[in-house]
Subunit: 420 residues, 2 copies
Amino acid sequence: MENRKCIFLIADGLGDRPVKEMNHKTPLEYAKTPTLDQLVANGMAGLVHPYRAGTRCGTDWGHLCLFGYDPEKFYTGRGSIEAYSAGLELQEGDVAFRGNLATIDENLCVVDRRAGRISDTEEINQLIAEVNGMEMDGYQLLLKPLTEHRVAVVVRGKGLGGKLPDTDPGTACEGEKVVNPAAINSWKGTDEDRRTAEMLWKFLMEINRIWSESPVNKKRIENGQLPANFILTRGSGKAMVPPAFTEQYPNAKVAVIAGDETITGIGRMCGFDGYSKESFTGGFETDYMGKAKMAMELLPNYDLVIVHVKGTDLCGHDNLPFKKAEIIEQIDGMFRYWMEQEGSENWYFAMTADHSTPCCRRDHSADPVPSFMAGPDVRKDAVEAYGERACAEGIIDQYTGAQLMATIMDYLWFSKKYGA
Amino acid sequence: MENRKCIFLIADGLGDRPVKEMNHKTPLEYAKTPTLDQLVANGMAGLVHPYRAGTRCGTDWGHLCLFGYDPEKFYTGRGSIEAYSAGLELQEGDVAFRGNLATIDENLCVVDRRAGRISDTEEINQLIAEVNGMEMDGYQLLLKPLTEHRVAVVVRGKGLGGKLPDTDPGTACEGEKVVNPAAINSWKGTDEDRRTAEMLWKFLMEINRIWSESPVNKKRIENGQLPANFILTRGSGKAMVPPAFTEQYPNAKVAVIAGDETITGIGRMCGFDGYSKESFTGGFETDYMGKAKMAMELLPNYDLVIVHVKGTDLCGHDNLPFKKAEIIEQIDGMFRYWMEQEGSENWYFAMTADHSTPCCRRDHSADPVPSFMAGPDVRKDAVEAYGERACAEGIIDQYTGAQLMATIMDYLWFSKKYGA
């Protein structure tokens, strides 16, 4: 069997709506994309529904769909995803939270939700090391730092529940007391939820005790900085442990390249290898060609290399259609680079998005996303250029994200046969 | 109500991908098909997903979908399908196996997996008659011959399970001992599975005892032929007993014409009448016009006549695109014949496939299959010719196989109304 390869680019929030200032074209239709147009002309295109027609996806949900999953079956919220992003390996039954290093006073009132925007990696690592892995009553606390003051929090043990009120009193509530979920009179959790709330609170109190004595914080106070002496938690949820991608596509090797930790985290959750680099910002200006080159380096070792670009989505949120078109032209350059490599005529290329983020709406929408697949033997449809309007006549029009992934994996010969 | 009729042709593995030697056309696009093009131009077309977008179907699974079913709900494997192919009527709770008449020695070691390729129908029928219907411990054994040395095996009775190891030691294992599943130490079946294994073994031992004394075998040995003194079984599975087609479409009368017994078997499983003829080979060269004429003979007595052609699939497996185009031209001739019959302007015509079998892949793929429906009052779409690329713009594009069948049955006035 031949060695089949695919580079699959996900341009976050790519899909858009007609923009008046662009002569009623969308940013994708407006952008000059000779390479993408050529690929579309030689392959099959369509407007793809990341989840289902008419549904509006968040980034995590949309990516899970594009990765071939039905998140409805296991999605429990951001806590788990941040844990994977931080590099924690979740187990069935764990409960995950999003956490902030914070400053509280002796009355447990919030002084600063971000502990003076603590960002020194050494300080953070030392603080985490002082408490990570702590065990009490047969339960364990696991922590991993994320960017700046953010930290992934996991409670591990038997009979835990995932639906807890936040200990974080909220963004506009500095000066308010930290919330002990188990002490909220009006809260009726299940036995499992209450057990988890009690354990979480015990762990947080112990953290407060240990960090109040920490040399890191003594030094911070000496330097006139706020101490990090607490973790505010929010977004609790039972661990998402989806079946590995290889259960559906045995032996498939998949890499995901992204600047945004959320995306590599979702990839790891599915069993992909996540890759990033300092210069991959997950912002407007990222190292596009650095990502393109990394994909080339990884391709020999993987069947499928997924490359994520975030800027298109940010432009949608900020209503910057011309900037969005510019980023799309950068993406065209990435494909041009790949097409110029030796052997590229044997590779498959695909592109889609996790959702549309129309500039006029400044938020995600349910509009399906322009998508294509090209490469050896791929059926050619009548679509000649990459754009929302043109794609509607293509072969993969109306596919779901998971069906697009299934199609890619079929062309890579990883699909199983139903029946005989 | 008028007497509405439809001829529905299934060209096995019809769908393909661009072929370089055909100027990047598919075999269907390359073939000269004036009749099919005319039907498509006057009707509605589409790329149909036999099961779902992105899934790759086997022949049995794909046909069940085209017949309006969701095999996910009841599919248990080939054993049941061969039983139906042989003409056995399965009941809920039966366990079916694929069987080979075989030769074993006194130590139960395989001498020949096909009993010297036994093929004399009279001999086979007499052997089967000696043991068929045998009862032991409240269980019954049912046998029906298939082609040559093949035989369908069914164990009937209470509390049986369908997941048994094969008694057949395998294709490369002549000289090895026949496997008694119940005696495999490492095998942990359910109580039902173990009970079935024990009963099967008892039946097989009794068959060996009876056939060792059979006059058929004595004569075979006299003639220097190997005796058929055992049945090797494989592919066990609980009986598939899907709801009858008429449960969904009351009173619909359906005939299926095929050279391939698997297809008539699947049809019988759904409650269709299966028809074949010696000259319908299920191979490259079949009696195309014989099938076309049989359809004409059956049409007065049926609402829907399904005609199956296997050659297109075989060409895909053998990478013979020009041969595939030739067979498609034969199919065009079948439709031309039908169109020339008196009254044909009142009939519906449809065509699809159970899956694509691209020549370049030499196996089934998940590519959707070019399909059409034409006839009185059928909506006309913009598609003017029958081909993979053209169909993508048609009205029934992205339909599933079951939805295509539902549409046919709706035009025949058999569809139920949801609500009032």
